[in-house]
Assembly symmetry: C2
């Protein structure tokens, strides 16, 4: 926020320009299929500058990967430990956050799934997702619901897989969904927007099934 540079796109510094271009290309085509020359061109700078700022393609990729991972889990993390909201409200908030995020950046899920497969150790060492999730208020509330008999579906892992599957899978399968449904980009977005409302309802029923 120094020198109020950040607000205007014209004035972004070179390092940021490179990162923005790299994010775009890596998200779209993955590590191996992206050429540093493409990133440089997209950023409107010379290839040498990329190595000047980031040393190597791999290091640049690692930065983008971790930042994207962070922002992806952010959409869930801000909700999970909120002491005020109910379990049900959390589900709605998570669905809304993800659908809003992924409607703007639909490439993120496939990018991340590929990145995790190729670099599981790097990622999970730096982001202790497991601990964060298992110790969250969300899981505490889930367990309470189970012990009170309000929900029957008692495996939190199966539950979170279902929730994320319903939210994230359509974005991963986007080209197929568009093809089978004969949808334009806008129609696809509308379909996803409708799921903001539907997913919490579906999940409510899933939670009552054992």
């Amino acid at each position: 926020m120094s020198r109020d540079k950040v607000s205007l796109k014209m004035d972004v510094d070179t390092q940021t320009k490179i990162k923005n271009a790299a994010r775009l290309m890596f998200h779209r085509k993955g590590f191996a299929a992206t050429r540093t020359r493409d990133i440089a061109e997209e950023a409107g700078i010379n290839l040498a500058l990329l190595n000047y700022y980031f040393r190597s393609k791999q290091k640049l990729f690692d930065i983008i990967m971790m930042e994207t991972m962070q922002s992806f889990f952010q959409a869930m993390a801000v909700v999970l430990n909120d002491e005020q909201s109910t379990f049900k409200e959390k589900i709605t908030a998570i669905a809304n956050n993800y659908i809003d995020l992924l409607s703007v950046e639909p490439e993120i899920p496939l990018f991340l799934m590929n990145a995790v497969r190729s670099n599981p150790n790097v990622i999970f060492e730096k982001l202790p997702i497991k601990q964060f999730f298992l110790n969250s208020v969300f899981i505490k509330q889930f367990d309470e619901m189970v012990s009170k008999g309000k929900i029957v579906h008692n495996d939190p892992l199966q539950f979170v897989v279902n929730m994320l599957g319903l939210i994230v899978f359509p974005f991963i399968a986007r080209p197929m969904v568009k093809e089978v449904g004969g949808l334009s980009d806008i129609q696809f977005d509308k379909m996803m927007y409708e799921r903001r409302r539907l997913i919490p309802l579906w999940i409510k029923f899933i939670l009552k099934t054992k």
Copy 2:
């Protein structure tokens, strides 16, 4: 099936050896990150033979891609147009077929999602998935259920996305699921096996929600 060669792995001809190696490598790492040298080594043959049989890496990839796509939709196609089975039985059959297939070859979904994103036109021109799906007995039965008021969820596209999401997503997110749950490969498989039973139940409820 000529000369009963097919039955023994030792006797597979060179072309098949190359295809098997290529399938393994492409499924695991995708097109760009796979080197023809790796395929040749995995197949136990010389690099030149790969080009002798398949002309280029791209042509070999296209063959693997189309075959994989075919076998993936096969798991659904054999069920969709069966006149004997009920709608409910079809759902169970599809879940079972996919979970059995993907437990043996968990790399397929991520491979296909990437391949479709990179080559949508090639694929959908050759495989008219949309027509096949929309004209299927399955969809006819779905519409009947809706008109009889037995199910309320009346968008077949939303429905199939949910069904495939519940079935396929865990395999795409496999490394994350294993991490968060602290699961071994065997435990992951057990979890997926349990979903054979659960998914039809969940879907039953989803179909009653609007």
